[in-house]
Amino acid sequence: MKIKLISILFASIFTISSAFTLKLDGSDKYMTKNGKVFFFSHTDMEDIKAENNKVASVLDSKTGKLQIEILIKSFVFKKALMEEHFNENYMESTKYPKSKFDGKIDDIKAIDFSKDGTYKSTVSGNLTIKDKTNAVKTNATFTIKDGKLNGKTVFKIKLADYNVEIPAVVKDKI
């Protein structure tokens, strides 16, 4: 998966040069406001896809604590009507504007932030969608390159766990 360099990453050029000092101070937070979340649902009728690139995330590299915040209205669908239905009927994004993950990287010790490499660890914590919170655990991959950290995780979610109601007539389409 290719990651677009967005404005905030340009700032990193500045911060990377200062990263050494930072570590000495004992500060060790990784953060972004332009993380990406892809939404995907496969059915017999059609695949439903959406992308959100305004995801906020902060990682404390010392404790492994990881928080992700997703603005539901920022999901972009190919079909305008799907986007409207997603916001209006299913996610009720005016009532529940944000979804959150609050958890940790279980094996944070295994990741060496000072050198390039790829690491695997499980991620566990609480996932909140539509004000319903469930404990989740999933595999994640972390890549360190040039002082930047890329993380990838996949959450599989059952609609019923998060209060998303599907009327019988459209059941097979979602």
Partner: protein, 296 residues
Amino acid sequence: MKQNFWVFLIIWIGLPNLAIAQTDTTDLMGLLGNNEETEYATATFKTTRLLNGHSIENQAAGVLDFRINHRFGNLNGGTYEWFGLDQANVKLGLDYGVLPWLMVGLGHTNVDKTYDGFIKAKILRQSTGKKNMPISMTYVTSSAVTTLKWTNPNRNNYISSRYSYTHQLLIARKFSNATSIQIMPTLVHRNLVDSLKYKNDVLVIGIGGRQKLTKRMSINAEYYYVLPNQINKIYDNSLSLGLDIETGGHVFQLSCTNSRGMTDPQFLTQTQGKWTKGAIRFGFNISRVFTLRDRK
């Protein structure tokens, strides 16, 4: 039993940031600060029409909307007219979203064998956050041409007499997820009127709104008041009440109205029949959308 899964694939990018000192780890999000964005009001109405007239909604760019409007006869026609069901007036229309703010449409109705076309452009969008705008505003202009045979073929008839034009400013506000109100200052220009006593330019003011009952159903109302001393006294103001039902790509609008015509100048200036006398027509609009052009 089919299992439904929504999959969230999450990729995040992090970078070390100089500005951060050691803080309480329980709310890491606070470190990112508050970046306020503009949030636009969406889905003020379920579809591009309130009932007879336009709502501030446009079809999205690249979306084609096929519309079938149907009005039966008057309810007070009694059993002889099968309470109006023996009569049928139909309008077929095709609307297309050209740009996110621009929509065009064509239609034909059997009422006076009329063709019509419109252009609809968004001017303001209701929003909160960084940009604050309390209302949405849209401009619609339409022209209609009747193609009935001349009632008096022996006199000098001009083709221009068949035309009439409508200009509307739609001003709407979504007050809550369920409630939206719209006002519609309107000008209808008719090239030919029945008598010198009547105005060619008719000012009409409309008010309408919707109240959601469930996520997929809403009650709509629409009233057009013709300012006094402009048109023949035989005509009444148009009042319509309806129910919107949304099912995926379709929107069904069931309505009760005193207007027979479904084209702008017809329901605005030629509505005949009073609700109080039972001159109510049952009708429905069906909208089916087709996405012709995917968004990038």
